[in-house]
Symmetry: D2
């Protein structure tokens, strides 16, 4: 069994605690927060798990094989690097780090030591993204034509980052998971607005040019009174629509499209076929994250959402920020030597 | 009573025919199409209205006081100018003309002769846009923060124009109708894609910087298997969401938003109040278009959606096309001497 | 071509006028209403169709081969019988007549003269009911287990009939159309309420015992602020859900059910498979009604919704009324010698 | 602090365990199940709470002031009575007992000893039911005209009870909570069907005549492929619609209705006003159940959903069963001397 400590008892920490406890291959050893009382409150009155405010203590604990880091992004480099240097496997909240350069340091350090460095890209472990990935990879959708995401809601204004860095990692990691082999975002543009004068963009639109000529786009918004989480994956044969808030029919696959002959007149015709909403397995995605973390450690292999996937997301976020700062042109995505592929 | 002829018996013509016939102040005289049999088919077997294939005949008819032009956009200049020169009032389908320069000619010609030149910006005459306009103008929404539109569907690939020129006129004219006095789009950017290799963008995203610092954005798409028509108008006090496909609750006004004090810490708080879906009058928007056309002619005044509103939309479309062609930067919107304001 | 006159220019008459005019095999001769100005208003200023207030005149007109009766139900016997006796084919609004006995007279008179007597059970001509019928008849749903309808809305309080007689004909005629051969309602019960003291039930619940042991139920309501029109057809293999107000996905077929072995323990298991929303042809159901009326006349055969289907609906309505009056027990449905089957 | 033991570690037990642990005024002492390993599994590997298979041990434990009973309904009498006789306060899952007679014994025993006997009618503690209750009691809806519930889903076939006894307690307890003072169900009728030959009704319709002339109706169904949980509360002034599956707008209040004058002609008019979806507090209803249980014990007062509310529900269930067995007539609801009112 893999001994795990959770670092950070804030917004996401309790979810990590709950799901680690429910994962047979993991054993929760301790929960660490600078504010000890917050860690104690998360564990509650009935727990045998240790609360602590000392990261050093956690990292020195031989029972702790791995840590799950749920601290603010600005501290990821310091906390995760210390854990790696202490020989711990690391699961880290998105984004991997505050910059691509910092992320590179983490990936390098983990690979050097042969440790698992995994991103908690939770959405990638939903049955919907797993199915979308299969639909794209198996050619069921035909050629990928466009990906359109809307992720808007009220009430998530972050103190130190803009809406792009807060929400786009979800969409970019989902995109990373479902793109067909060899297809990558090559340039990213972003438009945004800070209409409430909060000092950072609260409404943003991100466009990514994909290497196959398709476009991906995301609408990210902290000011919307209604919550919308929809991703459309358009293909030449079929198009899938994922509505994450629809509990009864989250994924719908439409056998519809535009057909056109190669002949002279290029008259377009439309195909309106059935829609299928596949039955999907139920279960909390974070449970699957934990199972993958445990399996990667035990099997000594990279996780599905490994450090490099986190680097790819960071490179796209930095391109988006650069575009936002310079009027919305497409900015090439850095493609470091370390950038492999999700395959 | 105002005698009217309809020019063009294609996709939209039958709707004009039906609604003119139902408008007491108008009298339908004739329906003109190059293809006479198409005009006859639209009128049907029971009609007393004249079908003709001769525009000259229509323009020479003294019973015809006004024409409604529903021919392809590329012909608007020629057809509408001929009508104006024949002393007819003109209602023209969107867009006003194939270019801003052509549009200017039409507006100049009509103003010179004191004739009504009106755009059939149908959506502006829906009860929803009328209410949105009032909500914005009366300050019910507070400061305008963002406007987000989605207008996607399968099956409308046009032979000669891209998705921007086909669909964005709807969103730009709605924006023109609801913006508060003095607020205007100052620059427009567009990203697009032609993943199906149709020779023109089938998926496009348009962003407009407004003069008050807010952003407007539209997602326009011919390839989507599902039809979505939603416009969110975000304000500092309230936000309105218009779902044009929701027959039972098309407009919802949320008393929600982000509040923040002017003090030191700038901690953001959220306000989650009730949602109100106002009861709206029912009725076909095109009926209201016809009533406004008749009233403008009879009262000798500009229509709510006059030629200048059509010019403003054209200027924004041209900026969008220029942006699309040059990588997505924001392109300033031409602001000619003739550009007044919807007020 | 079949010459047709419409009798009654009230709520439904204009729809008949419009759809008859659009049907190639029919020719609209006249529109008759006791209030001549109402008939003239329905036809409008541009029509060549004759308006009249004289039923005698219509029935004496040799150009008139058939009439469509859209007068109040209480007058159906008199109007339709006169038409039949004048040798006209008859299309009649639901219900066939004010009582089963009256209906029998009409069916007898029409059959005697070899004339078409058809019910305008419009819903039976929707693509959804056509598909439901096929799904049931072809065994795609397995054994029929239950049919549940909800038909509620605000604003239809009728002056002379209760909500059962107003709305249940829709559900009973749909049921008549989709039931498998040999399965019939054998007894009907109804509970109702007149909470607004209008003098007749405004809220009613109808249950029908089917001859195969299944149950059909309808919720009928004039007081609901929201409009709901949903029919669930539950089978042992699949279940279909028809939401008449959902324009994008009106019919959904669920591959779900309860399975149980024949063994000792009878443990129930569940089958959760995909959902399919079939692509359906588009088009107005009333257009198909007219095509069927024309075809039945031309081919000299009974219409799909012939007089006997109207009789079956009347027998069930009378059983429902009897149940409502006597505390809600199941009342057997009259099964006259004339009662055939829809097969 | 009130020491609590949970009896029964099956379907609902884990929810009780979790919510008792999260309630400051309660202290979870032990979890008891005949199957010790099931109790241990529910508590998990990190808990300090005691697992046991001995009810005697629990009832003899002086630390245990109260028990929460989540065993099958058939055992409620025995388990709850033993607890009461051991001087423990009791929270019991619905239904109170297997029969009204058994329920009376429990209520009598608890009242005799001055102990709290509370029903876990969880839905009554949702913000929606709390608001509905206030809307009815404060007259916001006007005169109550009808209550319509739909509670259908796949996958809940119970081994020993029919769908009425399984699901109707929810609707009847909600009704009990929201009815205005003095209004009660006086007679209940039920129609049902066992089309899958499971040996008990899987589809049932329950109608209740209320003492003010209104009707309440519930559709209960184990065979539906789609989950629906909707309650409409119709009033003369406004009507509220509660959709328990709509996370963004669970409660909608429509300012719509039918008005009619007292004059001669009794012409009905319609009022179509705005719809308001009130902002509601968030939170798990079971948390509020626990808070009420703790408060009732500490303050020595009956709980909102006390034993008598459970008795009223049982009386209605027994009337429904009697109606189901005898053809669907309305059966009077037993109104024992003990039957007070929810006030």
């Amino acid at each position: 069994m893999v001994g795990v400590a959770v670092i950070g008892a804030g917004y996401w920490g309790p979810n990590l605690v709950r799901n680690i406890q429910a994962t047979p291959q993991l054993r929760l050893i301790s929960l660490c927060d600078l504010d000890l009382s917050r860690a104690q409150a998360v564990l509650g009155r009935y727990s045998t798990v240790r609360a602590t405010s000392s990261l050093q203590e956690v990292l020195a604990d031989p029972e702790v094989d791995a840590v799950a880091v749920a601290t603010p992004a600005a501290t990821h480099l310091e906390v995760a690097l210390a854990a790696i240097e202490a020989g711990k496997h690391v699961l880290v909240e998105k984004p991997l780090a505050a910059s691509h350069a910092d992320g590179l340091k983490l990936v390098g350090a983990a690979e050097e030591r042969g440790l698992v460095l995994m991103l908690d890209h939770t959405f990638c472990y939903t049955p919907e993204v797993q199915r979308l990935r299969r639909l794209v990879h198996d050619g069921e959708l035909g050629e990928l034509q466009y990906v359109d995401s809307v992720r808007i809601n009220l009430g998530l204004v972050q103190p130190d980052i803009d809406v792009l860095w807060d929400l786009a990692p979800h969409d970019l990691s989902i995109l990373d998971a479902i793109l067909p082999p060899g297809v990558r975002p090559v340039a990213v543009a972003a438009h945004g607005s800070d209409p409430a004068a909060l000092g950072r963009a609260c409404v943003a639109y991100l466009s990514a040019q994909l290497s196959n000529g398709a476009i991906a786009h995301a609408h990210l918004n902290w000011l919307s009174p209604t919550k919308i989480r929809t991703t459309i994956v358009g293909g030449s044969r079929r198009t899938a629509v994922w509505n994450d808030l629809d509990r009864t029919m989250p994924l719908a696959i439409y056998d519809r499209g535009v057909d056109w002959p190669d002949g002279q007149d290029r008259r377009v015709s439309y195909r309106i076929g059935d829609m299928v909403a596949p039955a999907l397995p139920v279960g909390e995605a974070l449970r699957a994250v934990m199972a993958e973390f445990a399996a990667a450690i035990i099997e000594g292999r990279p996780a599905l959402t490994d450090g490099r996937s986190g680097l790819r997301v960071l490179a796209q976020l930095e391109a988006a920020s650069a575009s936002l700062a310079t009027g919305g042109v497409f900015v090439p995505v850095a493609n470091g030597a370390m950038d492999g592929g999700a395959a």
